[in-house]
Amino acid sequence: MTAPLTPAQTIGPFLSIGLTWPDGPSVVDPAASGALRLGGRLLDGQGEPVADGLIETWQAGPDGRFPEPGGPARQAFRGFGRCLTAADGSWEVVTLKPGPLPAPGGATEAPHVDVSVFARGLLHRLVTRIYFADEAAANAADPVLRSLPDDAARATLVAPAVAGGYRLDIHLQGPRETVFFVA
């Protein structure tokens, strides 16, 4: 039996009332070994910061495993991050670098983080991924990156390393528009 799906609606401008978590950005304890900062800015089609957005992240741990409900690993590594964007459009989570993952057909997915973007003006969430620029060989073999039309499109998903972590801006629109996936 199938049931008709519930449609999405925009998160609106007042999302912080319901969705603020003090520990939202801490995918892992910032003091944990290997903890790094992953972040960037959320920008609109005019290059203006989106100051009322929400970024959520979901990813495997360094061993390629996902947190189990109630398990001890979940206490140490939640896999999930949530960060409201600031006045300058910036967001940041503290996390561990994910490991590679097996994919169908014997392929391997390069280390990546799945990202949901919510904001006023987005009637449905946007879905994107973040990869890591220092995984060039793995990225070159990644089936999702390979499915994109060209290097410019791929580059919108690959975060350069910076001191303490990785940074990548998400462009909702415009000449550097980020690749988004069907949500």
Partner: protein, 232 residues
Amino acid sequence: MTAASGDGVHPPYDWPAYGSTRWRAPRRPLAVLPENLTETTGPLLGAERVGEWDHDLTRQHGGEPIGPRIIVHGRVVDGDGRAVPATLVEVWQANAAGRYRHPGDERPSAPLDPNFSGAGRTVTDADGRYRFVTIRPGAYPWKNHANAWRPAHIHFSVFGRAFTQRLVTQMYFPDDPLFPYDPIFGSVPEAARPRLVARFDLDATEPEWALAFRWDIVLRGRGATPFETPGP
């Protein structure tokens, strides 16, 4: 065309009647993400995120908020009709005067209520059921177009069990006269709009205490796991 349009369920991103979409809607075609491990798993957030009174928005302060007390309840199921148990449901809403407790909502014409924050949380039970007690929110004006008013609504955020099931949406109340004028409600394909509207529920209404509204939420099916997942 953006790919969210045309699925018969979700609104398109590009929807000019809602002015905020203009510089925020992507213009390029959406790519397709296969449902691999990161997509078929998801954050299983539950009771550890919910406080004692998070499900009752009328008991979070010293006194009771102004406005008609209501019960809002329902089930979270997936597209295959299966219950979604133990999943976090977060809500937020305006007060009875249509005012949000938010620095971005400063209208002097609508007062804040010192006894109402407007945020709630709960987790679904083993059968996917959730239940909130709150007050009925008011409609409120916004600046999208001349004499624009949002129909009364409660914002919902639901996780499900997989990244692909994540849903943020809004629940509306039956027979709202503002529906034909609201570009956000109207962004949903017409046949799917009734799914955003709760129904009055006399059976769950508590005598001399609160009217009840029932609203079921249907998330995407999780699909078949495409291949074996790593062991624990």
